[in-house]
């Protein structure tokens, strides 16, 4: 659950087309918010750890997203990449009355990122 202490409002969920992602920039940090066809919402860091591709432009499905540049895949719920040990940061997100809200404290955390970067 998101604690009510630092919630960041991203605005209406309608900004994110169904089945697609959309990038939001918060304090210089790019966050990709995804809205699945079955109503789930995910938020992950937008840049693919492989070569920095914009994940928000990727095709999503079955709780995963594929980077549009080289096809690296990431689980949207856990951040785990298909090419181990790649992973992306994840953020707690909820839809409240049609509004996207993410937990701002997650932004401040140190970046776990991938352990190895090519």
């Amino acid at each position: 659950m998101i604690s009510p202490t630092k919630i960041i409002h991203l605005g209406s969920i309608d900004q994110v087309p169904v089945g697609q992602g959309r990038c939001f920039i918060i304090d210089g940090e790019e966050i990709a918010v995804f809205r699945s066809r079955d109503g789930h919402v995910f938020a992950v860091e937008n840049r693919c750890p492989h070569r920095g591709g914009p994940l928000a432009e990727g095709v999503m499905g079955d709780g995963k997203v594929v980077c549009p540049l080289h096809g690296h895949k990431f689980d949207l719920a856990t951040g785990q990449g298909g090419e181990k040990p790649e992973c992306v940061r994840i953020f707690s997100v909820i839809i409240d009355n049609g509004e996207i809200k993410i937990d701002g404290r997650d932004l401040a955390k140190p970046q776990p990122r991938s352990m190895v970067r090519s």
């Binding site: 202490t5 409002h9 939001f24 920039i25 591709g53 432009e57 990727g58 995963k64």
Partner: protein, 833 residues
Amino acid sequence: MDKKKLVVVGNGMAGARVVEEILKRAPGRFDITMFGAEPYGNYNRILLSNVLNQTQEPQEIFLNPLTWYQENNITLHAGIKAFKIDRQRKVVLGGQVPPGILPYANNEEFLNKVEFIEEPYDQVIIATGSRPFVPPMEGFGGEGTFLFRTIDDCHAIAEYAQRCRKAAVIGGGLLGLEAARGLLTHNVEVTVIEAAGQLMNAQLDAEAGQLLRRTMEAMGIRVVTAAKTSKINFQDGRIASLSFADGTLVETDMVVVSAGIRPITEIAQASGIAVGKGIMCDDQMRTSDADIFTLGECTEHRGRLYGLVDPIWEQARVLADVISGANPNALYTGSKTGTKLKVMGVELISIGEKEPSLPSDEVVIYREPNHGIYKKLIIRDEKIHGAILLGDIEGGDILMQMFMRDEKVPAKRSELFFGSVKSAVLVNIADLPDNAQICNCNGVCKKEITDAIVEGECLTVAAVGKKTKAGKGCGSCRGLIAQLIESCVGKVSYDPSEHYYVPGIPLEKSQLVAEIKSRGLKSVSAVFAELAGGREDLDSKVGLASLLKTIWPKEYEDERDARFINDRVHANIQKDGTFSVVPRIYGGVTSPEELMRIAQAAVKYQVKMVKITGGQRIDLLGVKKEDLPAIWKDLGMPSGHAYTKAFRTCKSCVGTDFCRYGVGDSIRMAQEIERRFQGIESPHKMKLATAGCPRNCSEAYVKDIGAVAIEGGKWEIYVGGAAGSSVRKGDLLCTVDTHEEVLKYIGRFMEYYRQHAKYLERTYGFVERVGIDMLKKILIEDSLGICAQLDERIQQAVDAYKDPWKEAEIPAYPHQFEGPRLVEVLNEAENNG
């Protein structure tokens, strides 16, 4: 001069074909009447299994619609069977086939109950064809027993299979296996029962038959050979099992008999015309009565019966020459037969004899039993006398040509199987060092792959790709990966998923298309809901979107999330997340006005690079997503589709306007091609070119489709060329006279490729897989009778063209072209409540 009365008995492929040939030679010479026992116009029986497995609608396999008969003033007695020719009175007698009687039944009792029709004639052509052979057995004809011969049979089989778990097919020949393939799509367990000791007895020798059997079994079909069915056993009115002559049983819920065919000759017998195995004829297709001719499967010529299309088309040409007077001396001297088939996905070529018969016959055999590959040649007098290629038919087209043309074989027999040794690049993969890069796209070296095989237990090319990404770029190293698996563990495992059209739905393309059509699935999410248990498979979305658009050009429900980003915003994403914009420049010819608009746009939107592309266009690189609609409007040119799996561009050389060598107007041709086919989507991209002469300055020989002008005002059309990760010269599809014909055959090839290629299969792979000879037969000679359908479908796709850059005015969905959104973090979001 009075018209001669010509009566054609039989409205099948042979009967209709000979009438077409006659009309070509002597339109208006004859008053033509046709008798057809089936209540339809004529259709392409070869495609029946597609109706059974629902990849084609019945109306798609009709060769001549009923309007064809009207337009050519042909009287068609549909559903009326001719049963006797009264040669004294010169009339053909026919009677209506009542409902419930099979059109090809040998059961004329109904004739006592119906009124006769009489048609007077000057000449008669008998083309009654054949009927299925039902081996003697008890119980056939009861509920749940079927033949596999007509459209009605297909409907009845498909309908009944819904209520069955198990089905038995009696007959292990080509049609039997096709019936089995059709039944598999209806989710029944299929057993094929063959009386001979092996499958496909007519085409294969014992070893190849055994090999095919193993392959069939691996696909889930049960095979019983050397089994004579003696009885169909019923329980409570439904089929329970089959009994064989040796006392054994096989359980089944339904029975389809496809055990060969026998000529239909009763009308000849009833009319006193000579009949042997079939209705006998001379080299002019004339029966023992000089006014009565015969052709097709009912016909015996020089002791032989023919059941294949090519020989029968030859007969039709000769018969038309003779009867129309176009060439009264035309002779048919028999056909050499070779067949190229695909049985349940297994490729097969069978030519001439399957066994040697003289002591001097030389037999050459090559086998790879673990891969289902078997190749055998019988050489007599330094010529090919027979050949079987199973599992791998590479080089088969050349063998077929050598056989048909009676060419001498090379002294080195191995060249017949493997091509000239001189041209082959021999790489022994086991000798490569560990750090040798195998996959040049993803930079995977040999050691990574062998580790995946040995330690990761990846025994298929797909599994290696999943683990290492090797082979997942252009795919040209997949053969090397297979060799590595072989050298490590002995053999590549069979992975049916390699044949799936998309990974998330376990169906091959034809099966998938059939399911989509029969269930009327118009959107990607509908396909997932019905065929993938509701799971939205990530790796299948884009491929399905492409397929659906081809299947339903107009009704497709476009869900934009199933598209790759390029196809969402009609531009090509670059490594920095910006996009490239390539406007269409028809035939590579632009104007000062267009160039000025391009230059102004490049300045206004701070384009990072302006690049002349390989396809004779101009690429504006580094455009932000949110600027796309505006730059398109400023350019005022349509999309060049340089970002999608579709027709891309048609390059040209300067042709006849200025070049002193040009023999054809390659620029105008390229512009016509580009205007017609812009935006046509396909399994992979299609790059085209036209060349004004064979010097090939525009590289048309190595394009997916190339049109090359040659002396005499003609155009050669090449297909399957490549100059990317693979380099291949295209194969000559045909030579035509006019621009209109160039457009026609290009469109026909494109549509066939769209319908039959696997997703992401470029034309060079597709053309090699199908074979140029087969493509010529299908697309030029119309051997399957589908050309009209192809022409119509490509026209529909052309008509459905919309410039996607028009979405600059009205976006397809909200936020389509919006970039990242800046969010202001407000401190009042703090909530201490």
